[in-house]
Symmetry: C2
Subunit: 251 residues, 2 copies
């Protein structure tokens, strides 16, 4: 009988063309599928909690797949890690109910965006941050972050493409943000956002817009106006992928 | 009149074919030379304090070069960093006496080798450590590290190749090690070694040998015996490049 397995994954997205499997491109989902095939002989496509774009990292992405393999659950983690590249690690494997689905069952997700504010960004950090050493009013950015908390139509912060949301919601662009805040620690300025779902590019577009506020070009009330406009062209530019990481998925 | 400039550099060596310029390969020295050429129009090859191998990192490598460029010293750092890839950063630029030479003037160097001992190594750390989760007697390794302190002929720990030392010493394989020790911090076991110079592969061969001691296959006294043997085949295997970093160079 098929078992349903839940994987928790960390990855350095720098050298991958995002989560979603694509022909002739190295993706997280594609790499994982090929390793599962080597291990179990089965052709399965693990379903992620959502897509991450090229260059975006994950501290604890969740994926699920059904398997008929007799391999004990407790052996899956080491067996997968032995076959995966060091840039992808399986942190946990557990058996879950048959109706568990990494994407459809997700209730909340947390993303983190790291900005490095110092003059010189060490090479060992560069893959995981956006290096932005120019002046910013960080207090105003903190206020702007608070303005998006709650249930809103986030069309203004969604990618202008035919794609559905990152979480492939049912066509609606309404999402609820539970928390949204900036924290400064040393030379790092980090944005954390927790919500019931996110549209494609939404976190990076929020960060890009908060930066325009930080520069003084927009005010906090403009963020509320942009939200109401439901028009992507009203918001700031998309922040670079390197600073973004999917931190956790709640079920 | 030509000025002599001293550069302090950090780099993530993972995606480079080492320090030394080589045709058709991306190296640190080659990348730096091409960026200096773009900036000053001059064809100069910056001299490093020593070579680092493919995959080896630097926290503060030192290089020097002569330039006739009128660019003020205080502008060099930002100008070079604007042109360099994020994997290489110039930390400092200063004007030094005409007879300063990054390699020949060096009096001491410190290297660090990081081993990750936990069961799963996060992707964000994997480029900078050797993941070795198997049993080791770390106390015995600490004793073995102490056994190489002092002036010794390190032939047993040099690469078996026609190349001279990493520091291109005068053909002698005698070096003085000032300190050599292991420190455990959380899941990381780190070897630090400071000496007046190092032969090609010497730190990685020392680490490989200390690991054989940690496994119990060799004893501390065997390390002294291997040193005296002056024969590379007596020592352990070369530890992987990823764990090694040049920490500092003293003048």
């Amino acid at each position: 009988m098929a078992r349903n397995l839940k994987l928790t994954l960390a990855y350095d997205g720098t050298d991958f063309s995002g989560w979603q499997v694509q022909p002739d491109l190295e993706t997280i989902q594609g790499t994982l599928a090929s390793v599962i095939r080597r291990l179990t002989g089965e052709n399965v496509l693990p379903q992620g909690s959502g897509r991450t774009d090229a260059g975006v990292h994950a501290l604890a992405q969740v994926a699920s797949f059904a398997t008929e393999s007799p391999i004990p659950v407790e052996n899956f983690q080491k067996a997968l890690n032995d076959l995966l590249p060091a840039a992808i690690r399986v942190l946990e494997v557990s058996e879950v109910a048959g109706d568990f689905h990494a994407r459809k069952s997700a209730r909340a997700k947390t993303y983190r965006y790291r900005i490095f504010r110092g003059p010189v960004c060490l090479p060992f950090l560069a893959r995981y941050v956006w290096h932005f050493p120019y002046p910013l009013d960080e207090n105003t950015m903190a206020q702007a972050a608070g303005a998006v908390v709650g249930e809103h139509d986030f069309t203004s912060f969604a990618a202008v493409d035919a794609e559905k949301g990152q979480d492939e919601g049912e066509g609606s662009n309404v999402r609820t943000i539970f928390s949204s805040s900036w924290v400064r620690q040393g030379d790092e300025l980090t944005y954390s956002v927790r919500g019931d779902g996110f549209l494609h590019h939404m976190v990076r577009n929020l960060v890009g817009t908060f930066l325009v506020v930080g520069k003084g070009t927009l005010q906090v009330e403009d963020v509320r106006r942009i939200l109401e406009a439901r028009n992507r062209s009203a918001a700031g530019a998309t922040a670079p992928a390197s600073g973004l990481a999917l931190v956790s998925v709640e079920y």
